[in-house]
Symmetry: C2
Amino acid sequence: MKASAREKIIESAYRLFYKQGLRATQVDQVIQESEVAKRTFYKHFPSKQDVVMDALQERHQRWMQWFTDRVEALNAPGKERVLGIFDALREWFDDPEFRGCAFLNVTAEIYDAQEPERELARRHKQDMDEKVAQWLKEAGVEDESLARQIGVLIDGAIIRAQCFGDADYAQTARALCAAILRV
Amino acid sequence: MKASAREKIIESAYRLFYKQGLRATQVDQVIQESEVAKRTFYKHFPSKQDVVMDALQERHQRWMQWFTDRVEALNAPGKERVLGIFDALREWFDDPEFRGCAFLNVTAEIYDAQEPERELARRHKQDMDEKVAQWLKEAGVEDESLARQIGVLIDGAIIRAQCFGDADYAQTARALCAAILRV
DNA sequence: GCAAAGGTAGACTAGTTTGTCTACTCTCTC
DNA sequence: GAGAGAGTAGACAAACTAGTCTACCTTTGC
């Protein structure tokens, strides 16, 4: 069952855009790595931005899936599940491929907040926050401002882990989270 | 007292690199905005990276100065001064020119952690953390892990404010900080 | 068995971007 | 008043990058 050209392109784009960033990755590089003809590439994606958007959508879906699965797989009850977020993050930070949150990177790279990539980044964070809010609710936490606070903790931990290459920031944020949950 | 060509270049580079990012800003744009001859530019800065590094150094110095001054100007005692960090941040977030932390942006844009720009970004955060640690010490807080936690809060607030264009994240992080300081 | 859909190799175009170079001017200081 | 130091205008070279195009091949469903 061979992968279609489109799938191969998305796969390479997914990898390269995350690894190197949007601007630093050339269309030719994506074409080379996906082992596809230039013509074929442009048949599927009329412009670079098209492949960027598709790769980001893919990233969003896969990341949310991983995040949800990983946290729920810990099978921890109530507030412990919320703390489990940071155990999942730690695993991510330890991955040698880890290079921060693709969407925070996009936010830093694209300066115009109106661009569709930026819009997607906001939606990604919103979806993440909603998942957190759901877990909080399931844990019996009423205070709705907590999801927002935990959002700050998650992104703070991600950016610090990326900046310093220090996975322990997951633990740092976990301790903060435990404090506000009064666990 | 006219500004020297070098000063004009640094000033434009400082502004443009922060506003648009490193890769998105062309040397020609810096030259145009600084109203300097191309020849003059290359006499002072043999390559783009040279002007990038100098502009980032400038940014680091000015930001640290602003941060220190602003927090200390609040003239709040003890732990209140530490909380004042987030009041200062709020003012920054409200600035229409605000586009996140230049050094977190660099971290996202430059994927090779060995590059000198990335090294400078780490030093910037370290200097910031040291300042926070100093204020904590002056507030009589013994726990040394707190500076690290507050670092996460600061960067989490910055990145969220940037992503969503929502200055209220300063308040969100402030509340978290108050919780761990038990104020 | 054939038409349509999907894929291929890679030359080529047009525009951009970094950096070089020539030839010249202005303004101090000794 | 002459030479040094700093600056100017902008043409030019070289490399890179997004996207186009021609001509051809391979698989698959009917």
